[in-house]
């Protein structure tokens, strides 16, 4: 094998293994034929020092991305995987939209800015906070509201608009976090940084909503938004009581409960239904399980770094138990996803045989 061939095969490793199994030898043979020359000296030089051109590499990168994330034309295994990423992104957007709506309404309510509904008793002032903190938190709540139109745009099929709005929401979140850290002595916790990182990944995940992607089932997602907002609102009303300590379930804990509930419902449903959307929920929930597990672990590490004063004494032990349960759920979901995805064809050629045999 020449150095050039080695280099080309290295580039081909970007492609899924199952795809390479079918096409690699043919691709290598064709590539080497395209660089063949009658000049023996040049041929020897190319064999030792030649590299695949950037345009060839770009075509392989594009193929690798299309195989893994494209909606139309991708083999069933990768189409399912791409659908899982879209479902996870939609769920993330839904949580952000519901949470930011609740936070804004509560912030306005507590500031006495909602007419006809009297403002609640003020919360105890965080120690050492300057007078500006109310205004900064109001600003952060307003900035967070950008997630709501981003979610609605995506659900209603305005995908480009949704991407731009989500990008604006992330930038606004970064700016408002920087402002509250700089001017309101907000601690720069791991949870804050983790949240921003996940938001940025979420914006990247929205790029998988390509033109060929199946339309979002807007009725189900709007209903899920209403339910999610109701759950978060109920939790927030319990959380923001002017009494201390807070209840044992913190925000990460609530996400753990929602994730484990959704996984339990899903696992009971997949036993009976096998449509692509349902099947894609298994890897989607596996992705979400790792995101929630990360949040849980980061927030527990914040408690150990900054102390958990103000929180219920059971919050940390409960948090550890939640991490264990979510970790176990993640493992189950990964195993189920691997089994499901392995059964689906990974190349177009396999897909033909699969669809013929499953008729």
């Amino acid at each position: 094998m020449t150095r050039l061939e080695e280099r080309y095969r290295r580039v081909l490793r970007l492609l899924p293994a199952s795809y390479r199994e079918v096409w690699e030898e043919d691709m290598v043979s064709t590539f080497l034929a395209t660089v063949e020359t009658d000049d023996r000296e040049q041929a020897e030089y190319l064999a030792d020092y030649g590299r695949p051109g950037w345009d060839e590499v770009a075509s392989i990168v594009a193929l690798a991305i299309r195989l893994r994330f494209a909606s139309s034309g991708a083999p069933p295994r990768y189409a399912t995987w791409a659908e899982a990423i879209r479902l996870a992104a939609l769920a993330g957007l839904l949580v952000n939209a519901a949470a930011s709506t609740v936070v804004l309404v509560l912030t306005l309510w507590r500031a006495g800015m909602i007419p006809l509904i009297p403002a609640p008793a003020p919360l105890p002032e965080p120690p050492g906070y300057p007078a500006a903190w109310h205004r900064l938190f109001m600003l952060a709540a307003l900035a967070g509201l950008l997630w709501l139109p981003a979610f609605l745009a995506l659900v209603l099929g305005r995908r480009a608009m949704a991407r731009w709005l989500a990008l604006a929401a992330v930038l606004a979140a970064i700016l408002s976090t920087a402002a509250t850290v700089a001017f309101a002595q907000q601690l720069l916790t791991g949870e804050l940084c983790y949240g921003l990182l996940i938001d940025a990944v979420l914006v990247l995940a929205l790029t998988t909503f390509t033109r060929g992607a199946a339309p979002v089932q807007y009725r189900s997602w709007l209903l899920a938004f209403v339910l999610g907002t109701a759950v978060i609102a109920a939790y927030s009303l319990v959380l923001f009581q002017p009494t201390t300590p807070f209840p044992p379930l913190d925000w990460a804990g609530l996400e753990c409960v929602m994730l484990v509930t959704a996984a339990a419902v899903h696992i009971s449903v997949i036993a009976t239904r096998r449509q692509l959307r349902i099947v894609a929920w298994t890897p989607a929930l596996a992705i979400l399980a790792f995101v929630v597990l990360g949040l849980r672990l980061v927030s527990l590490s914040d408690y150990s770094r900054f102390g958990s004063s103000g929180w219920h004494p059971a919050t940390v032990p409960l948090g550890i138990a939640e991490a264990v349960v979510v970790g176990a759920t993640a493992i189950v979901l990964v195993l189920l996803s691997a089994r499901t995805l392995r059964r689906l064809p990974a190349t177009g050629a396999d897909a033909t045989a699969w669809s013929t045999s499953s008729r």
Binding site: V22, M27, A33, A62, T347
Partner: protein, 110 residues
């Protein structure tokens, strides 16, 4: 049907070809305008095989290298015929419009 898929099917009409043969034939058919990269070629081929428009013809070994030949299926032939008729109808409609059209400035001048 994408342009690379159209040209790949066209390249296989007269005889089975291997990957490199397809790349060369597509360049000839398009007067050098379409130069298929390997990733593009095999991405499209995988789809065409998956859709049953192209199938494997035979494998040959030349200078120690595998050469896999592909041929058009009946379904591929029909699909290319339909696409050609569609493109020809589109071209006719556009040509008629272009021939009937005169720029506004030309109208004033005459």
């Amino acid at each position: 049907m994408t342009e690379p898929a159209f040209f790949i099917l066209t390249a296989l009409v007269d005889e089975p070809r291997h990957g490199y043969g397809i790349v060369g034939e597509v360049a000839t058919l398009s007067d050098g305008r379409v130069r298929l990269k390997i990733g593009t070629l095999y991405g499209v081929l995988d789809r065409l095989v998956g859709d049953g428009l192209v199938e494997r013809d035979r494998d040959e070994v030349q200078q120690g290298r595998l050469r896999r030949y592909y041929r058009l299926t009946e379904s591929g032939h029909r699909s290319l015929t339909d696409e050609t008729e569609r493109q020809a109808a589109n071209a006719r409609a556009a040509t008629e419009r272009l021939q009937a059209w005169r720029p506004a400035s030309q109208g004033w001048a005459s």
